[in-house]
């Protein structure tokens, strides 16, 4: 079991990806702390993770855009399990902000999407970095997006920009924390139907023809699953990836890679 004795903090723990990450780590012995603002779904996902054979899961209500809540969440993780060995900066999303021409982008929308995706990643990384440095080891995986590589058809500029920022943040922090034995990487998934908003975007805002055109451009001819993203995240957090740091791994069925 790759994660025996490891504590894994997963933000965005109420969503579909957070659920898949939690189940994946728990199945391999990890103690999971799920953080999110949505108490109901958090509880539901945590119950599933605890149902995994020997699954350990704590929850924390936490808005990753608020420093005090992030600090409290990490303190809670330390109090529950005594360490934070792995951080998955998964909280993110476009908050339902529409894609509009750049001259009409609302400043407040820009701020809140940037805060959720980029500032949240910064605050959580800052909150765990001291603990990991003291331990002389740690793994951090940030969630970027294929839209940061190629732009988005339906995705708003705020989200794409924030996810591009995540790639740069990943490299810079990897450079800084490497000498302390801490690996920092990112994954950039293609379209994964991990929640209602994405399903709605895929099924309601694209026509049948648009969907089939899109899939014909994907070499593997299909969308990905949350579990497939989880497998890559688990690999990056394992000792098999000890020499991998600062990278953003594209997981998109072959649609695009830098």
């Amino acid at each position: 079991m790759r994660y025996n004795g490891k504590t894994v903090v997963i933000t965005g723990g109420a969503g579909g990806l957070g659920r898949a990450f939690g189940l994946g780590f728990a199945a391999e012995g990890g103690s999971v702390v799920l953080a999110d603002i949505d108490a109901d779904r958090l509880t539901r996902n945590a119950a599933e993770i605890k149902a995994v054979n020997g699954g350990r899961c704590e929850t924390a209500l936490c808005d990753v855009t608020r420093a005090n809540e992030v600090e409290a969440m990490v303190s809670h993780a330390m109090a529950c399990f005594g360490s934070v060995d792995i951080l998955i900066n998964n909280a993110g999303g476009s908050l339902g902000v529409p894609k509009v021409p750049i001259d009409q982008v609302d400043e407040h929308d820009w701020d809140r999407v940037m805060d959720l995706n980029l500032k949240g990643t910064f605050l959580c990384t800052r909150a765990v970095a001291g603990h990991m440095k003291k331990a002389g080891k740690g793994k951090i995986v940030n969630l970027s997006s294929i839209t940061a590589r190629v732009g988005g058809q339906l995705t708003p500029v705020q989200y794409v920009s924030a996810k591009g920022g995540v790639i740069a943040f990943t490299r810079q922090v990897a450079q800084e924390l490497g000498p302390s034995g801490i690996n920092v990487n990112a994954v950039a998934p293609g379209i994964v139907l991990s929640g209602e908003r994405l399903e709605k975007m895929w099924y309601e805002r694209k026509t049948e023809e648009e969907r089939s055109d899109y899939l014909s451009q994907v070499p593997l001819r299909r969308l990905g699953s949350p579990e497939e993203i989880a497998e890559a995240v688990l690999f990056l957090c394992s000792s098999a990836a000890d020499l991998i740091t600062g990278v953003t791994l594209d997981i998109n069925g072959g649609l695009f890679s830098v």
Binding site: A174, P179, G181, R221, A240, L243, I244, T245, V247, I251
Partner: protein, 247 residues
Amino acid sequence: MLLSKKVAVVTGGGRGIGKAICLVFAGKGSDMVVADIDGAAAEQTADQVKALGRNSLPLEMDVTQEESIRLAVERIMTEFGRIDIWVNNAGIGSRAMLHEMDPVQWDRVLNVNLRGAFLGTQAAARIMMNQNGGRIINISSRAAKGGSYGHCSYASSKAGMIALTKSAARELGAYDITVNAIMPGFIATDLTKNLSDGITQPEQRVLKRPGRPEDVAYAAAFLASDEAEWITGTSIEVTGGTGMFAG
């Protein structure tokens, strides 16, 4: 196990990174075809694979010769009946400043590293398309992105492997064949042990420890596994964080 009952072919499997890939894959349950231009080295790796309890087939194979590859594939199909994983790992370097490089040196490096990977990919694709599935992994180099002081032919061949990887991924995706690359940074092997003089500039690395062949093998094992099913056309840098200092 992660690769149980797979049949994997590794070119350049006799030593260095190729040997580590053979042993790590075998440890995860795969049967191994160890191909190398040095037949004796291939046999040594194959013996170590057998000691891990897996079937192994050593083959003397020259990746620059189509006939050599054809015969090897024929033999593999007779012995195992299929090929699940093909790793294009065979490679050479050639140290010379570009203003002094003999074009013959350039041709030799491109011939082994890039044309060899093309021929290997082609041979693997022909089998895997019939199987409707397979994994092809190209061992490129961080030099593909960053260039390499004193090794322009090597760096160019490795960059070519990235474009080969992406193109093959596009063509073969419809057959559920994934094609990916690994870009190792500096790894201590026979190929690299004599590089530390004036003409080679080692890159800075943010992680403390130097790279080992096994680090590359673990990444290859991940890409070869069922866990990496939706990953294709991309490359993973296994470098300890080199090339990250831009001021």
